[in-house]
């Protein structure tokens, strides 16, 4: 898929180098490309040794793969970041208020701002969460908002990722790698720290512990196990926070609490940071075939004995059909206009809109409302006539199942290639932590980059890589 329009380059503008990149550019011009080439290989060896890998299902010869890392940082000025983080803060607060409202008084539905059908027929809406407020009133303890940029001042939210966003370990390890490879850069250019994230994550999780638990809450990370594609991240975060990494079979209900087996017997848990999906969380409540979860955890949760982060049922807020209502949702709960833009979204459930979408399929991206990870979607500009015709039939059969968006011309940041710097499209996933004490956003995030020339697909499964993301000090 290629961008139709002229795209925004974050490093170079017509008049030369954009100011956030000027110090970096001055350094880069003095570098020997053979040395950078060697550095690039060193970085790969570092990632391998540290085990920063992801598992690919069904490929035994290459069980663990590396996500390619590019050594040119993506740089944001403090001003750009301040605006972005205000927008994220606002959006994250609205999402939490929205979730609380949906599972309690449902005022937003009564006010007719969000249609009730969108909630009533939504699998991600969990009846088990109705009339219940999680400890501290927090639903989305960790949010990873996907943001794309199309111009100097044009930032769009692509997805809200309110379930269990991943990728933060890459943000941290990319920075470590850059510090190891180019210490001289960091003494010249003042970059805001990301390394406090694990400490802040732990503090944030502890602050949402259920009332009446011990004064030092006991936190664990729940992983589906070593075969999960994000296992590295689960173990990394547990290790960095200094908390136990556990699997479902390590946990059980003991004396009315969820407890983990240890070398000294069972120990009661206060907070579970779970990296297991809602469906698999509790075989007694959800998918009864699940071996990854903990039988009875939902009962304990509703009894106020444990905190689950993120709360079950948050998926209803990052649903693609709900997405189109986000500007209204933000305004409904915060009383302010949304700071971050939404990508224009056509709801195919509306007959007029469906007609427009069908007529313009070649220029649009059409997504399944409940889908994720790029499955079941049509990328108009990259699709063949046959593919478009086939998709049109699906669309006509179940219009309410789809939304359509224009193809965005994502901004570019240069990557290091054999032929020197070359522009590639990027997105950004900053990470926000929510606790009763407020929203804490780590300055930076994960920049994903489409390594193939012209490609707009940044997913690691389709040739995407990552970059270190710098937010300059003010």
């Amino acid at each position: 898929m290629t961008a139709n329009n002229v795209y925004f380059s974050e490093m170079a503008s017509d008049g030369g180098v954009r100011s956030p990149y000027s110090a970096y550019n001055a350094w880069f011009e003095k570098q020997d490309s053979d040395r950078l080439d060697r550095k690039s290989q060193e970085a790969e060896a570092f990632f391998r040794r540290t085990g920063i890998t992801f598992n690919v299902y069904g490929q035994s010869d290459a069980e663990e793969r590396l996500i390619p890392f590019d050594l040119v940082p993506r740089i944001l000025s403090n001003t750009e970041w301040t605006k972005l983080s205000k927008g994220i803060d606002q959006r994250v607060r609205a999402i939490n208020a929205f979730l609380h409202d949906l599972y309690n008084r449902q005022e937003i539905l009564r006010a007719g701002v969000v249609p009730i059908e969108l909630i009533a027929h939504n699998d991600a809406f969990l009846p088990q969460m109705i009339d219940f407020t999680p400890p501290g009133g927090v639903y989305t303890h960790i949010v990873g908002t996907d943001i794309v940029r199309t111009g100097e001042d044009e930032f769009y939210v692509l997805e809200d990722n309110a379930r269990t966003p991943s990728g933060v370990s890459y943000m941290l390890e990319n920075r470590e790698t850059m510090l190891q490879m180019f210490p001289e850069l960091f003494s010249k250019i003042k970059v805001q720290r990301v390394s406090d994230y694990p400490k802040n994550l732990r503090a944030s999780l502890e602050a949402t512990a259920p009332p009446g638990c011990s004064d030092k809450p006991f936190v664990v990370v729940l992983t589906p196990g070593i075969h999960n594609s994000a296992y590295y991240e689960h173990s990394f975060l547990a290790d960095q926070m200094g908390v136990e990494l556990v699997e479902g079979h390590d946990l059980r209900v003991v004396d009315g609490r969820i407890a983990v087996r240890t070398t000294r017997g069972f120990r009661a848990i206060d907070v579970i940071y779970r990296r297991v999906d809602d469906d698999f969380l509790d075989p007694l409540t959800f998918n009864s075939a699940s071996l990854l979860g903990v039988p009875g955890v939902m009962d304990m949760y509703r009894a106020g004995k444990i905190t689950i982060a993120n709360a079950p049922g948050t998926g209803v807020a990052d649903d693609k059909a709900i997405y189109s209502y986000m500007p209204d949702i933000v305004e409904f709960y915060t009383g302010e206009k949304a700071i971050l833009k939404n990508v224009e979204t056509h709801r195919c459930s509306e007959p007029q809109t469906l007609k427009y979408v069908l007529n313009n399929l070649a220029d649009l991206v059409v997504k399944e409302v409940h889908g994720s990870g790029g499955y079941g979607m049509l990328v108009g500009p990259a699709a063949s006539k046959v593919e478009i015709a086939e998709f049109a039939e699906k669309l006509k059969a179940r219009p309410a199942n789809y939304i359509a968006q224009p193809t965005l011309s994502l901004s570019t940041v240069p990557i290091f290639t054999e032929a020197g710097l070359a522009p590639r499209h990027v997105d950004l996933r900053p990470f926000a932590l929510v606790s009763p004490n407020g929203v804490n956003i780590v300055p930076g995030g994960l920049t994903r980059v489409a390594l193939t020339e012209g490609s707009l697909v940044v997913n690691s499964s389709q040739g995407g890589g990552t970059k270190d993301t710098w937010v300059l000090e003010g």
């Binding site: 391998r48 040794r49 540290t50 085990g51 070593i226 296992y231 173990s235 990394f236 547990a238 290790d239 908390v243 136990e244 990494l245 087996r261 240890t262 070398t263 000294r264 017997g265």
Partner: protein, 302 residues
Amino acid sequence: MFRFLERAENTARLIEAGFRIALTRSSDPESEWKSVIVTSAAEAAYGAKHDVFDSTRITDFLLRDPENPSSVLSVIKAARDNARLVRTALTSEVWSAVNETWMLLTDVLKDKVPETDLPQVLATIRHQSALVRGALHGTMLRNDIYDFCRLGTFIERADSTARIIDVKYYALLPAPSFVGSRMDNVQWETILRSVSAHRSFRWAVDGDYTPANIARFLILDRRLPRSLAFCAASLTENLNYLAEEYGMRHPSNDMAEALKACVSGRTIDSIFDEGLHEFLSAVLRDTANLGLQIEQDFRFNK
């Protein structure tokens, strides 16, 4: 995990001793190689695949054979899988040392190792074990996790040393017809080299090569870090730390004390009177039982 790492190192050491003896000393290299296989407790598995005992087949079986669960390649993979599973129990330095060891050895052992490269490959295995051990000692908190790492190491080491002596026990028996006639017995050298004690024996025992001295050194001398006495004392010590930290003693504490009593504070003659082979069989059995008891006491299987 540390049992696996210790086993990889012990196997490398055994091959090194076998290789050296076969090259320099023996008129009957096949029997030397055979005793290497017996010592690694791999006789049955090896016998199922091969009927000749030669250096190429044996080194390949011990280093690379995926069907041999104790081959260096198998145990390094197991150690790394294990480390990944308990990643948060290890410091990042220990973890990356284990991961790097696995990457490096998987690469080095990808193809059959030609005789010309064998010394280098064996040295790499030893270096990598030293790296992991160094990271462990230098960076880990001295808490229960560290104690468990050490317990694994010493259970495996006690087992290995007892086996090494047992396979050659006849060479250590004070039978007047055999021993004493030659100052320098090939078997003795094999035994000492297998536990990397060839040099330290000369220093510690003043190079007085008699069966009683060698047996005493390997069994009763606490200065030798691979002796049974050292292993038993370390097991007792680490279990005592655990008892202190957990505020209670377990049955494994008493079992370790008993094992320690059996390999210290006595003369080598009393062991010979008991019967060296019988004594070693008892040590092997008690070590295995102690391992099982530790798993039970600390709920590793619940």
